[in-house]
C-alpha cells in the first residue's frame, strides 16, 4: 500500500526527517512512537502532502505510484486520509457541509454517521470552532467515515479524549480500519474476514489505542530517524521501563 524510500525532509533548510524507510502492506496497521518533536507529525504531513515540508531526497509510493510531488487533494482522492492533531476551525463552514464534501461524489447519511460518534448536535456548528479536544477527534473520525480512505493516517487518537470517549474513538478507529465488526444484513462473517482491510499508520504516546485495534508492527521515530521494528505492545513496555534513552544507543 505505502512505501517510503530513503526519505529526507526539511523545512527552511532545517532537516527534520533523515533517511526514513517504511513499508505498510495492504490491511496492515503500523504504530509510530517517538518523543515530542521527533518528527512524527512531519512524517504524516509529508505523506499527505501538506505543511510546506520539502522532500530533499527519496520518494513516497502509494500502491506503486510515486506520489512524492502530487498535491494533497490528489493523494486524498487516491485513498489517503488523515486525522489531524490540531485541525483549524473554519468560520461559517458547517460540520455537515464538510462531511458531505468528504464523501466526494458518493452520498452519505450524515445524520447516521454523526450518531455513531455522538456529534448529531454538532452538524450545524462551524467546523472545529470551540470544539473540545475530544470533540475534535470525533469530528475527524466522522469526516474519515464519510471519506473512507484506504490508508488511514491517525495523529494521536488519544490526546484530549476522556476514558469513556476513548472507547468510542478506539472502536470507530477499528471500524475505519477493519470495517464493521459484527456480521449484519449486508455483511456475512465470511465477507468480513475476506474483505480487503484498510491500512493504518497511527501515532501514539500512550498506546491506549492498542486496546481497540490490532496493530501489526510498531516503530520508533527518534530525532528524525526511524528505528526499531517490533511488536507495538513490546515497544510500549520498553518505553515505559527505559524511556527513549535506549533509542540513542540503538541508533548510534
Amino acid at each position: 500500500m505505502l512505501t517510503i524510500e530513503n526519505l529526507y525532509v526539511s523545512i527552511n533548510g532545517t532537516p527534520l526527517l533523515e533517511g526514513i524507510n517504511l513499508s505498510i502492506g495492504d490491511g496492515e496497521t503500523v504504530i509510530l512512537f517517538g518523543p515530542n518533536g521527533s518528527g512524527k507529525t512531519t512524517l504524516l504531513y509529508t505523506i499527505m502532502g501538506i505543511g510546506g515540508y520539502e522532500v530533499t531526497e527519496g520518494r513516497i509510493l502509494f500502491n506503486d505510484e510515486d506520489i512524492t510531488h502530487i498535491p494533497a487533494y490528489e493523494r486524498s482522492r487516491k485513498g489517503i486520509g488523515m486525522s489531524m492533531q490540531r485541525p483549524p476551525s473554519i468560520h461559517g463552514l458547517k460540520t455537515r457541509g464538510l462531511v458531505e464534501m468528504c464523501a466526494g461524489k458518493r452520498t452519505v447519511d450524515v445524520e447516521a454517521l454523526a450518531k455513531k460518534v455522538n456529534l448529531e448536535s454538532f452538524l450545524d456548528r462551524d467546523i472545529n470552532l470551540g470544539f473540545s479536544g475530544g470533540e475534535i477527534k470525533r469530528s475527524e473520525i466522522l469526516q474519515l467515515m464519510a471519506q473512507r480512505p484506504k490508508l488511514l493516517l491517525f495523529d494521536e487518537p488519544e490526546s484530549g479524549v476522556d476514558v469513556e470517549n476513548m472507547a468510542l474513538v478506539g472502536n470507530m478507529a477499528r471500524e475505519l480500519l477493519e470495517g464493521p465488526s459484527e456480521p449484519d444484513a449486508q455483511h456475512t462473517l465470511h465477507d468480513l474476514m475476506h474483505e480487503r482491510k484498510t491500512s493504518g499508520l497511527i501515532i501514539t504516546h500512550t498506546g491506549h489505542i492498542l486496546d481497540y485495534i490490532t496493530a501489526d508492527r510498531g516503530h520508533v521515530l527518534y530525532s528524525g530517524h526511524l528505528c526499531c521494528a517490533d511488536n507495538p505492545k513490546r515497544i510500549l513496555d520498553h518505553l515505559k521501563k527505559y524511556g527513549y534513552k535506549e533509542c540513542i544507543r540503538c541508533l548510534s
Binding site: I50, Y73, I90, H91, L93
Partner: protein
C-alpha cells in the same frame, strides 16, 4: 473620494405610481428581488417603493405599522417634523446639504407601541433612469415595546447604469423596542452612493443592523452612528461586503455608549477581490459599565486592498472595549485541511469564502437568504 454631483440629474424624474407591484417589468422586479424586495409581498407587513424622484408604492398590511411617503407623513403628523434632521444636520457635508435642499421623498415607518410584527416590512429605493441623482430621507420610529424587522433594499434597474444615491436615515428605537434593520445594496459599477444615517436607542431597546453588499459600486462611503441613550440598550452590527475590481467602499459603524449597562458588537466580514475597502469602526463609551467589541475580518484576493481602522474611545473607568482585526489571504492551514478531504484548491477556496460570507446569524427570510446565496455564487466567479 470626491463625487462630482453636477454630473447627475436631481430634477425631472418623477415616476409613475404603481398600483400593482406584480405588474412591474421583469428587469425591475429582478433587481428589486436581488435587493431583498419581494414584489409578490408574501409574508410582508408593509411595502414601500421609491423609483427615481418619488414614491411609486406605499402600503401597510398590518395595523401595527404606519408607513407613509415623507411629504405626506409630515403633513398628516404635525409632530413628526421634529424627527427630521434631529439626529443628523444638513450642514454635515455637501450630501446632507443637497438632500436638505431638494428632497425627493423617502419613507416614514412607524411601528406602533407594543406591536410585535411577525412579518418584515420591506422597502426598495430604486434608480431607474440613467444619470439620475436620488435624494431620499427616511425616518424610522419604533415605539415603546414594539418589534420589527425592516428589509431595506437599494438598487439600480440596470447593472451598468450611471447614477448617484444620497440616502438620509434617522432611526428612533424607543424604550424596550427592538428593530432589526437589514440593508441590501445591489448597485452597479457606475453608481456613487452616500448614505447618511444616525439613530438613537432608548432604555432597554435593541438595534440590530445587517448590511450586505456583494455587487460592484463605483464608490460608496458611509459611517452610520448609533447612540445608545438609555440604560441597558444594545446595538449589534453584522456586515458582509465584497469589493471587486474598480469598487471602492469606505464603510463602518460608529456607536456611542451613552448610558450604563449598554452593549455593542460590530462585526464585519469583508472581501476585497481586486477592489478597495476601508473598514472603519468606532466605539465611544461615556458611561460605565458598558461593553463594546469591534471585529473586522478581511480577506484579500486578486490584489485587493483592505484598510481596517478600528477606534476605541473609553472615557470612563470600568468600560470594557476590545477590537480584533485580521486582514490577509485565505489561511493556508484552512485550505490544506479541505484539500486533504479531497477538494482541489479552487473548491477549497470557494468553501472557505462561502463560510466567510455566511449570513445565518442575520435571521433573514428564507427566500432572501436564497437570493443572497445566489449572489455569493455569482460574485465567486470573479474571485477564482
Amino acid at each position: 473620494m470626491k463625487v462630482d454631483l453636477s454630473k447627475y440629474e436631481f430634477t425631472g424624474h418623477a415616476s409613475e405610481k404603481v398600483d400593482d407591484l406584480t405588474r412591474l417589468d421583469k428587469g425591475e422586479k429582478e433587481s428589486m428581488k436581488m435587493a431583498g424586495f419581494d414584489a409578490s409581498e408574501k409574508n410582508r407587513s408593509a411595502s414601500f417603493v421609491q423609483i427615481d424622484h418619488n414614491h411609486a408604492f406605499c402600503k401597510s398590511y398590518d395595523p401595527g405599522v404606519e408607513i407613509l411617503p415623507l411629504g405626506l407623513a409630515l403633513k398628516i403628523h404635525e409632530g413628526w417634523g421634529d424627527l427630521k434632521w434631529k439626529l443628523l444636520k444638513p450642514e454635515k457635508d455637501e450630501f446632507t446639504r443637497l438632500a436638505a435642499d431638494s428632497t425627493h421623498g423617502g419613507y416614514v415607518i412607524r411601528v406602533k407601541k407594543g406591536a410585535k410584527l411577525t412579518a418584515p416590512i420591506q422597502s426598495c429605493l430604486m434608480m431607474h433612469t440613467n444619470k439620475v441623482g436620488q435624494n431620499v430621507h427616511n425616518i424610522i420610529l419604533v415605539e415603546e415595546g414594539a418589534e420589527a424587522h425592516i428589509l431595506s433594499g437599494c438598487t439600480t434597474t440596470l447593472a451598468d447604469q450611471t447614477a448617484a444615491h444620497i440616502g438620509i436615515s434617522e432611526f428612533y428605537v424607543e424604550k424596550n423596542a427592538s428593530l432589526t434593520f437589514t440593508m441590501i445594496h445591489n448597485w452597479g459599477e457606475n453608481v456613487e452612493v452616500r448614505p447618511r444615517s444616525a439613530g438613537q436607542v432608548e432604555t432597554g431597546g435593541i438595534f440590530l443592523s445587517n448590511y450586505v453588499s456583494l455587487k460592484p459600486v463605483k464608490n460608496l462611503q458611509m459611517y452610520p452612528a448609533i447612540t445608545l441613550k438609555g440604560a441597558g440598550s444594545i446595538a449589534r452590527f453584522n456586515s458582509v461586503i465584497v469589493s471587486t475590481e474598480n469598487t471602492f467602499m469606505d464603510v463602518g459603524n460608529r456607536v456611542i455608549l451613552d448610558a450604563a449597562d449598554t452593549r455593542t458588537e460590530i462585526i464585519s466580514h469583508a472581501i476585497a477581490s481586486g477592489g478597495h475597502i476601508i473598514a472603519r469602526g468606532h466605539i465611544q463609551a461615556n458611561c460605565s459599565p458598558a461593553k463594546g467589541h469591534l471585529e473586522c475580518q478581511g480577506l484579500l484576493l486578486n490584489n485587493g486592498i483592505i484598510q481596517a481602522i478600528p477606534e476605541l474611545d473609553g472615557r470612563m473607568e470600568g468600560v470594557e472595549l476590545s477590537h480584533e482585526a485580521a486582514v490577509g489571504k485565505i489561511a493556508k492551514e484552512e485550505l490544506e485541511y479541505l484539500m486533504i478531504r479531497g477538494m482541489d484548491e479552487e473548491e477549497a477556496s470557494s468553501a472557505i469564502v462561502r463560510g466567510f460570507l455566511n449570513i445565518d446569524i442575520m435571521g433573514l427570510p428564507p427566500e432572501l437568504k436564497t437570493e443572497i446565496d445566489k449572489a455569493i455564487t455569482e460574485s465567486e466567479k470573479s474571485m477564482f
